[in-house]
Symmetry: C2
């Protein structure tokens, strides 16, 4: 069986296994790259090793945990060997548990000998760097701070014009702060939490840039951040399956901290969205995040799905670039999704070009709305991505794939609007539905316009032959109400005209004007 | 851009356009075939031409409708030409409106000259034949009757051992019977409907095989049948997005007939599920179907999504076979879905083989349940089909793709169980959820067992290298409770054992016994 089919992907040309020897769990993630340069995760193994637990009197790794760790690494190595991933395609990294233990280096040497895996220990600085690489490639961050909170430490990276400028690390991880500042089997007192916040703020004060750099944009990485975001999404009953791009506000975080603190640690998993394995140690992390929000004055923490492992993969992948960042995250997300599913980009880009021309001269005062052209463009590129699932109902499948991908770089509202434009690009009456909870006033009209334009643009390219080179909307001369769609073409436009003429109903609903089609 | 990407598919090697010049609408459907021999619809154009309306005094096609029809055919021809579908890849057929009109042949000649499309007129017999080809390739029909009800006529085909044996046609279509027997702007009386049923039964009596051949299995084709099925699904609040495989029972049909009859024709679209364009003519069709159920004594009408166009495509596609039928519809459905999405069939078939071995010797009296091995086998072949969407949450994507495909040949209950086994093949606690409405007593345990076996089988082939050749479940010797999973292998099974051992929890829940893994 070819590699192509083995990964369920289209022409996989490269696979990379990133192995993360974390304090809590060990994980192996396979990233695949396709011949058309898409990338995605294609496999994962994980094991709760808890190497950072049961430490000896001087912080040594325990013999039992090391034995479990070695057994797990043997399985990971066997998996790579038998599934055809070579050693030079493996990145295996140890983080704080191994770095901080006096016998960490010795453990790594044993593990290298026993498994042949090219394990290296990441410095704090390297770890922060990979978090930055993840954040800057998976959000629209330009200037701000990236925070990564793990079990042991908190890293902050200042970002200016997409470059990492400053980096600090404090022992303010969720496990460490919960144990030190919030011990006990019962509810946690306001006083205990105030002491932790105070302590964190004192640390932050030692890096004066923290008070200014994160005011506009704070991006959060790590399991604790993702889990708190999930709980906030559940509390607000938002229609989101993923935390990608969600902004955790100070208010939502304060409410969660209250709910968590009033319960005993083992009861905290009852707060909807809080994971079982994380419930007992999450409060320390949440309080530290409150302190970060206070210190930076940020309006919230933008949460992403990616983390250290994606950062390592992307740093490799984008390596010739320094720093390893894509020129435009939104474009990269849209293109990656389109390529993963074999979208005909010549066709899709032509539809996007036609839609861009239409949106540039909309009939109506104050149109297009801010951001509207970019959303229409993305929807035009992705409207047919659902064809990879099935032709029947492919508009619904497109919406499913767009929502599932999360389109890093766009906000949840924007992703929902792009998905809905694709959803309504063929039929049905556009409606925000449950996505209204994510949207702003006027978004229902924006959706209506976007869907109407997309239907017209698609029909103009119905033949997939780029015969219609250009299209313009104009007020009909001598007729205040009517709008004429003028086409530039140099071939047979019978199918294009036939198709576009049939979109008049939705156009009239969106723009309050009847549409006629004319060849210029 | 290559054909591959143009169709959003994997290596499309052949495209066929089927153009159906129906009495109500004209439709062009593109079917694509992939290099791994999957097939699916990949495009569609349609236009409400209503060629069967406004007929002249002798039933002639009207000049206006013919002009509209010719314009539409010119668009279809231009679409084929510009999108690269050659004339020898086009099947264009006229049905009853053209066949029955005295100027139908003349219209076809004009249309051929004007468009170059290779239009031919289907005889009633041909039309019934293609309905049979659709039905026998999209259901598990062995012995029974295929019914196809259109606007003008009703065709019945007797099927014995999957062969078409008898065929009749009567002018009992939905439009014709509504106009003749159930005229009026108000509610329809029981007396009117009784007269229509009586008339239909008299016709059926002229073909004595109708009273016997359909007793066990009746398959229904046509828009009226599909629309009534949709309304019955809505009324029963069943979690079905498609009518594929749904059985419309006499009771559900009687209830719908009552609800439709008590409303004026233009109010009938208010019955949930009834389509606007069909509401005014559906009652005649529904009453004729009541008569078919009465005449045959069938327990219901199995409804399918496919019809004439699929029959024409499949008859071509399977042409060397006589009759053109696949050896096993269920196997063909599963394989088609797997191939459409590039499933690694060597890997998937190996997992299915391992799952088959496990299901053959389950610990527990009376196990496996009837039909269980076949469902587990299908789920094993399709569990990873969702990888085509994304690795993350691919178990959910597999369920989405399986439910969306409808898996012709399986019942809605079976499709739901296969989808749920795939849904729970990695994590989560298996539960029927809303699918319980489709299921039978004991199906929750069947799902639990299926998911548990699938998890084990997948782990045994976690490396995708077929190192585990065989697997058996055995009562542990000297221990009434325990079960041993014995493996036959001749390579490194460290990953397989590691993976299988981690599935003990669900196994214990499904079989009430702890699991240990041993190499034999």
């Amino acid at each position: 069986m070819s590699e192509h089919l083995r990964d369920g992907g289209r022409g996989v040309v490269q696979r990379t296994a990133v192995i993360d020897l974390g304090s809590n769990s060990f994980r192996l993630v396979v990233f695949s790259v396709g011949e058309s340069r898409w990338w995605k995760r294609t496999d994962e193994l994980s094991e709760m090793v808890r190497l950072g637990g049961d430490l000896g009197p001087n912080g040594e790794l325990s013999p039992q945990r090391m034995a479990h760790a070695l057994e797990t690494l043997r399985v990971f190595a066997a998996f790579c060997a038998t599934s055809g991933i070579r050693t030079d395609q493996i990145e295996a990294v140890g983080t704080s548990a191994i770095r901080d233990a006096p016998n960490g280096e010795e453990f790594v040497q044993r593990a290298r000998r026993a498994t042949g895996l090219p394990i290296r220990i990441l410095s704090q600085r390297d770890e922060a760097w990979f978090s930055y690489v993840s954040a800057v490639n998976q959000t629209s961050l330009t200037d701000g701070i990236v925070l990564d909170i793990g079990g042991g430490s908190l890293e902050l990276v200042a970002v200016e014009r997409r470059q990492a400028e400053e980096c600090v690390s404090w022992p303010l991880g969720a496990v460490r702060t919960t144990e030190r500042f919030l011990p006990g089997d019962g509810p946690t007192s306001a006083k205990q939490m105030a002491a932790l916040r105070e302590h964190a703020l004192e640390q932050f004060a030692t890096a004066p840039w923290v008070a200014t750099a994160g005011r506009d944009h704070l991006v959060g990485i790590g399991g604790a951040v993702r889990n708190l975001a999930t709980a906030a999404i559940r509390a607000a009953e938002l229609p989101l399956d993923s935390v990608q791009g969600f902004v955790l506000t100070p208010h939502a975080l304060d409410t969660l901290v209250e709910q968590l603190a009033e319960r005993a640690p083992e009861e905290r998993e009852r707060v909807p969205g809080i994971k079982r394995g994380r419930a007992e140690v999450i409060l320390g992390g949440a309080v530290v995040l409150q302190a970060v929000l206070e210190a930076t004055g940020a309006p919230g923490i933008e949460v992403i799905e990616a983390g250290l492992r994606e950062g390592i993969f992307l740093a490799n992948q984008l390596a010739p670039a320094d720093p390893p960042i894509v020129p435009d995250v939104r474009v990269a997300s849209v293109t990656n999704l389109a390529r993963q599913h074999g979208v005909d980009l010549v066709h899709a880009e032509h539809i996007a070009e036609l839609a861009d021309q239409l949106v540039a001269a909309l009939p109506g005062a104050g149109l297009p709305a801010p951001g509207e052209p970019e959303l229409v463009d993305a929807a035009a590129l992705l409207h047919d991505v659902g064809m990879a699932v099935d032709y029947d109902d492919h508009h619904k499948h497109s919406s499913y794939l767009i929502l599932g991908s999360g389109l890093p770089g766009f906000t949840p509202r924007e992703v929902a609007l792009i998905a809905l434009m694709a959803r309504y690009h063929r039929k049905g009456t556009p409606s925000l539905g449950s996505a209204a909870a994510l949207c702003e006033p006027g978004d229902d009209e924006l959706l209506l316009r976007g869907a109407a334009l997309l239907r017209i643009a698609e029909q103009l390219e119905r033949n997939r032959d780029q015969v219609v080179r250009g299209a313009r909307l104009r007020r009909a001369p001598g007729d205040d109400d009517g709008v004429v769609l003028e086409l530039d073409a140099d071939g047979d436009t019978v199918v294009a005209e036939w198709g576009a003429e049939r979109q008049g109903d939705l156009f009239a609903r969106a723009f309050g004007a009847p549409l006629t089609v004319a060849r210029s």
